[in-house]
C-alpha cells in the first residue's frame, strides 16, 4: 500500500494532535528546568490528587480490559487478548500502587515510597511488555472452543502477578534494592528501569503510528497519543527528587492525560 494515498486520508488535525502531544510535554519539562518552577506539594493535597488520578486510570484500564476480552471472545485475536491483559495488569497493579503510596492508611501492607514504586514498576513493566507484544506480534486467531480458557489463564496470570507484587511489598521490601532514597532521590536502578519502560512504550507508539498511517483509524490515533503521553509521564517519574514534587505531579498529570486519550479511543471506536 503506497504511503501517499494513506497520508491523504489522514486528518490534518491528527498531525496537529500528534505534534502537540510531543511538543507540549517537551516545553513543560524545559520550563521546569528553570528553578522557579520547582515546587513541592502539601502531602495531603497530593494524596487526594494521586488517589483521583489512580482511581480514574484504574477504571479506564479495567474498561479497556473488559472490552478487549469481550472482543477476544468473539474474535479470537491474539492482539486484542494481549492488549486486554496489559490493561488488566495496569488496573490491578496500579490499585496496589495507590494503596502503597506514602500517607495512605495501612490496609494490607505498610505504605511507603519504595513500596509504591515497586508496585508502579510491576505495573509499568508488565504493561509495557504486554502492549509491545500486542503491537508487534503477528496476528493469530484462537479457535473458539479454547477462548474462554485462554481468557481465564490471562486473568489468572494477572492475579498471580498482583499477588507476587503485594507479597514483595509486604514481606520482601527490606531485602529488595531501594528505588528511592529520602533526601537523595531516585536510584539509578529505578531510572534505568523507567528508561526501559519508556523505550518499550516508544516502540509500541511507533507501531501504533504505523498502524494509523495504514488505516487512518481514530482509535489507533488516540492510542498513539496516549502511549506518547505515557512516555512523557515516565520521564517525569525519572526526574523527581521528592515524591510530592512538581515532576511527580506532572508525571501523574501526563498519565491522566494518557488514559483520557485511551478512554476517548475506546468511546470513539465505531
Amino acid at each position: 500500500m503506497a504511503f501517499y494515498p494513506a497520508a491523504r486520508r489522514i486528518d490534518r488535525r491528527a498531525i496537529a494532535y500528534l505534534v502537540c502531544t510531543v511538543l507540549v510535554p517537551i516545553i513543560v519539562y524545559f520550563a521546569y528546568a528553570q528553578a522557579a518552577f520547582y515546587i513541592v506539594s502539601d502531602p495531603n493535597v497530593f494524596l487526594v490528587f494521586h488517589a483521583f488520578v489512580e482511581i480514574f486510570t484504574v477504571v479506564v484500564a479495567a474498561a479497556i480490559a473488559y472490552v478487549s476480552f469481550m472482543g477476544y471472545r468473539g474474535d479470537g485475536s491474539r492482539t486484542i487478548l494481549l492488549l486486554g491483559t496489559a490493561f488488566l495488569a495496569q488496573a490491578a497493579l496500579d490499585t496496589i500502587h495507590s494503596l502503597a503510596y506514602p500517607g495512605m492508611p495501612n490496609l494490607f501492607f505498610q505504605p511507603g515510597s519504595n513500596q509504591a514504586i515497586y508496585a508502579w514498576l510491576f505495573a509499568r513493566i508488565s504493561g509495557a511488555i504486554l502492549l509491545l507484544l500486542s503491537a508487534t506480534l503477528p496476528e493469530r486467531e484462537t479457535p473458539p472452543k479454547i477462548r474462554t480458557k485462554i481468557l481465564l489463564l490471562a486473568v489468572a496470570a494477572v492475579a498471580f502477578l498482583s499477588i507476587t507484587c503485594a507479597y514483595a511489598i509486604k514481606e520482601l521490601i527490606d531485602v529488595l534494592p531501594p528505588m528511592f532514597i529520602q533526601g537523595k532521590g531516585l536510584t539509578m536502578l529505578k531510572i534505568g528501569l523507567e528508561d526501559l519502560v519508556a523505550l518499550t512504550l516508544a516502540i509500541t507508539g511507533l507501531s501504533y503510528l504505523r498502524n494509523y498511517m495504514h488505516t487512518a483509524n481514530k482509535t489507533i490515533l488516540t492510542f498513539t497519543i496516549g502511549v506518547t503521553l505515557f512516555i512523557f509521564s515516565e520521564i517525569g517519574f525519572m526526574l523527581y527528587k521528592n515524591v510530592y514534587d512538581i515532576y511527580n505531579i506532572t508525571g501523574h498529570i501526563f498519565k491522566l492525560a494518557a488514559f483520557i486519550a485511551f478512554l476517548i479511543g475506546l468511546i470513539r471506536a465505531r
Binding site: S68, G74, T79, I80, L83, H214, T215, N217, T219, R270
Partner: protein, 255 residues
C-alpha cells in the same frame, strides 16, 4: 406439533419449525429471497417430509418459477408429475372467492392431499380488493386454510428497502398471522447483506437474533447472527464498540 421447513438453522430459530396449521408471513422488500424461502419450504416438504404442497402465485408465471427453481436444483415439473407439488397461477379475486365455504383451490388441495401451501404474494390482494374489505377477506382466507389444516406461508412485500421505518404490512395482516419472518437487506461495510429474523411466533418462544443469510446454489442458507452490530434493522447498522475496538487493533487491515 412442528412442521420442519427443511432449513435446519431456520427450524432452530423457530425452536423446532413452524407450528402445524399455522399461517406464517414472510415479509421483505424486493430481492430479499421471499419466493426462494417459500419455494424451498414446499420442495423440502415434498422431498424430505412426504408433505405435498401447493404454490399459489399471482404475478410470477409458473414457467418462471420452474426456471428459477431449476437453478437451485429443484425439479418442480417432476414433482408436479409425481403429484407432490403443484404450482397454481391465479388472481386474487379467484383466491378469495368463497361459495358455500368452497374455494376454487379446494379441489386441488383435496386432490393432492396438500399439507403445505404458499401464497406469493399476499400483497397482490391489496390491488384487487377494496381496503375496507381487505382485512375481512384475509381473515376468511386464513381461517379457511386453518380449517383445511394446511401449514401456510404467505409472502408479503415491504416497500422499504432501507431506512429505519419498518412497516410489516399496511393492512394489519401481522395481527392475523401466527408467525412473522422478516427479511431485510442491510448495508455492512459497503456491501449489501441479507438479514433474517423471527418477529413473532404464537404459542412458542423463538430465536430473537438477527441472522445473516445467503441465497446459495442449494437455496437459503442461514449464517451467524449480526452479533457485532447494532441497528441492523435500520438498514445501516453500526458496529458495536467491542467489534470496532477489536477491528482497530487487528493487524493486516489497510485502507
Amino acid at each position: 406439533m412442528r412442521v420442519s421447513t427443511g432449513i435446519s438453522a431456520l427450524d432452530a430459530m423457530l425452536h423446532g419449525g413452524l407450528m402445524r396449521g399455522d399461517v406464517t408471513l414472510v415479509v421483505g422488500s424486493a430481492g430479499t429471497g421471499k419466493t426462494t424461502l417459500a419455494l424451498q419450504y414446499l420442495v423440502n416438504g415434498a422431498t424430505k417430509f412426504n408433505e405435498n404442497g401447493l404454490y399459489i402465485t399471482f404475478e410470477q408465471m409458473p414457467a418462471q418459477i420452474y426456471r428459477d427453481a431449476a437453478s437451485f436444483g429443484w425439479d418442480i415439473r417432476k414433482l408436479e408429475a409425481e403429484g407432490k407439488l403443484r404450482v397454481v397461477c391465479t388472481s386474487p379475486p379467484v383466491l378469495v372467492q368463497f361459495v358455500e365455504e368452497r374455494n376454487p383451490i379446494d379441489a386441488i388441495i383435496s386432490e393432492m392431499s396438500a399439507k403445505r401451501i404458499v401464497i406469493d404474494s399476499i400483497s397482490n390482494l391489496e390491488s384487487f380488493i377494496p381496503a375496507s374489505e381487505l382485512r375481512g377477506e384475509l381473515y376468511r382466507l386464513v381461517n379457511h386454510l386453518k380449517m383445511k389444516e394446511l401449514t401456510s406461508i404467505f409472502t408479503a412485500e415491504s416497500q422499504e428497502v432501507f431506512g429505519d421505518h419498518l412497516v410489516v404490512t399496511g393492512v394489519g395482516l401481522s395481527f392475523l398471522v401466527d408467525c412473522i419472518i422478516l427479511l431485510r437487506i442491510v448495508e455492512i461495510q459497503s456491501s449489501l447483506k441479507k438479514a433474517l429474523t423471527v418477529l413473532k411466533i404464537r404459542g412458542s418462544d423463538h430465536d430473537k437474533q438477527l441472522r445473516e443469510f445467503e441465497i446459495t446454489p442449494q437455496g437459503i442458507k442461514i449464517a451467524a447472527a449480526f452479533a457485532q452490530y447494532e441497528g441492523v434493522l435500520t438498514g445501516a447498522p453500526r458496529r458495536s464498540t467491542t467489534e470496532a475496538f477489536t477491528e482497530a487493533f487487528k493487524k493486516g487491515k489497510k485502507i
